[in-house]
Amino acid sequence: MKERSGRESRGAVVMDESDRRAEALFEAGPPAGTEADSVLQESARLAEIARERRRQAKNDAEAETVFELKDVSVTYGGSYAVQGVSMSIRKNEITALIGPSGCGKTTVLRCLNRTNDLIQGAKVHGQVLYHGIDLYGPKVEPVEVRRRIGMVFQKPNPFPKSIYDNIAFGPRVGGFKGNMDELVERSLRRAALWDEVKRDLKASAMALSGGQQQRLCIARCIAVEPDVILMDEPCSALDPVSTLRIEELMDELVSEYTIVIVTHNMQQAARVSDRTGFFTVAEGQDEKDHRIGILVEYDLTPTVFTNPSDSRTEAYVTGRFG
């Protein structure tokens, strides 16, 4: 909202014709009228209804817990990035982690499949239980963890190979012995990409559009049949239409998988998630006056957005800061 008012005030001074047209489009939202758009809008509406139904069903039944974080802190080279996070993430739900930059939400996400191990000097304190097993236990093999807990990154990162090989890589390294063609097709269908790429699976993945690449990365992730899919701002590099498609996809996938998503986009968290964790930055909690990320509030998404119990959450979700 802040950004828009800035645009308008600048627009008044140096607005030429093309600016004015862009401004009009901006006001009107995505161009309506074409068939593809109306289909998209319709499917978005249907997805919203499905989501609502799922939410209501979920609220009643006590769902199984997938992750249990107990007082988790992460240090990089001795200084805290995020401190004292406790939350439980439930099966077949979309959990959104929101908050301003530097609040540690991505760090927490990376704890969940031991991707933090890959960063030199990173150390995780506290307990991260996955189905009751301590992920940082002495006998836990990180490779095994990542095989079960997949991850989709902020920037689409397809391998510079064919679409087929992108999907087949995970199963191959995992020792998959079945029918690979079938698995590739199934994964691409699940990621709603099959119809767009089926004509040429040997084509380079680098030639796909950004949105297609991200769906390919999701398909690649699904191909190893994980239990959980972690998504680190999966739509931040995508246009609104591609974003909508990914959101619909998440909505379908959550019936089979548990999804944890980090997002900068509050509307996105509100649209797709069942539960939302709000992180923020606390100033100077240790002697060196470092900025440390903390989890402020974790609750059902409607509660966080409409009736938050913490004033900082309210300030954030109403757009007063961040």
Binding site: N157, F169, V173
Partner: protein, 304 residues
């Protein structure tokens, strides 16, 4: 321009001048700099063209198939470079099968597995950078002391020469391979690891294939440098009059630069002509390899 603009606009707009306010000094300095850099290019080109032309003119009478297929002879008009070409090919082969696997392996370790903060890895890094700048004659001494005599006592054979050239190009191969591996974004390895691949699987099946064009380009350039090296081979005692091709790793041998060196140092005019022709052949081989390297780079260049 400025007057017409002030007429159409409101009178409060200040007149704009687009003429230079910085004066001739700046323009002169600009021109001098441009002249200096253009001159540098021209000097380089002129030297190269002069060298090629001079060799072409001098060597033209001997530049034919006979030169390539004949063996060295005491009669300049019958002397050829077949054994030198085969000697060079043998050495290139040895360099390819030793320096490249070891160089790429070292590069993978340095880029993907080494703890870059550790003092010993930083030391290795500095040593490799410096080794790349060591004069080739020093590698000749190394080969002489440890391979030809001393430790391995192989004698002045093609294996000794190949391994010596291998040492010579190894640092260059490592540096080029490291750069090629570093050019692959870390998100590729992250993506592979997130799919449950081990680090080795991610590196060997994603990062390494993606960096192969860069590695190949760097390696070819390194080998083409090795082909032209005479100094270490002279030190190792490459023979200059060999009338047979190497038959194995333990064969005596000669090589193109050695043959050229030998002919130029002879008094007869005929050998000088043969040497010029051999220089053309050597240049062609080097240019061909560089062309392949450039083609590889352009053909497989990946924009991330």
């Amino acid at each position: 321009m400025s007057t017409s603009a002030s007429q159409t606009n409101a009178p409060t707009t200040p007149p704009i001048s687009l003429t230079s306010r910085r004066g001739w000094r700046h323009r002169a300095r600009d021109g001098a700099f441009r002249g200096a850099v253009t001159g540098s290019v021209i000097v380089g080109l002129v030297v190269l063209v002069a060298l090629i032309l001079q060799s072409l003119i001098e060597g033209w009478p001997r530049l034919n198939l006979d030169l390539l297929t004949s063996f060295p002879s005491s009669f300049p008009e019958r002397a050829g470079i077949q054994s030198a070409i085969f000697g060079t090919l043998w050495m290139v082969g040895i360099v390819l099968v030793t320096a490249i696997p070891i160089g790429v392996g070292a590069a993978i370790y340095m880029e993907e597995f080494a703890d870059t903060e550790a003092w010993y890895n930083r030391l290795i890094d500095v040593i490799i950078q410096n080794l790349a700048a060591v004069p080739s004659i020093v590698y000749g001494i190394l080969g002489l002391a440890f391979l030809s005599r001393g430790l391995l006592d192989l004698g002045p054979v093609v294996l000794t020469a190949g391994l010596t050239l291998s040492f010579l190009v190894l640092p260059v191969v490592i540096i080029a391979s490291r750069e090629a591996i570093r050019a692959v974004p870390s998100s590729i390895l992250d993506g592979a690891l997130a799919l449950g691949a081990t680090r080795w699987q991610g590196v060997s099946r994603q990062v390494l294939p993606a960096s192969i064009p860069g590695i190949a380009t760097g390696s070819i350039l390194a080998v083409s440098r090795a082909i032209g090296e005479a100094a270490p081979l002279l030190l190792l005692g490459a023979l200059q009059f060999i009338t047979f091709n190497p038959t194995g790793l333990g064969s005596s041998f000669t090589a193109l630069p050695i043959q050229i060196f030998n002919w130029i140092s002879r008094p007869q005019e005929g050998f000088h002509i043969a040497a010029a022709a051999a220089i053309i052949v050597l240049l062609c081989i080097t240019l061909l390899m560089n062309a392949v390297a450039i083609w590889l780079r352009n053909r497989f260049q990946q924009t991330w």
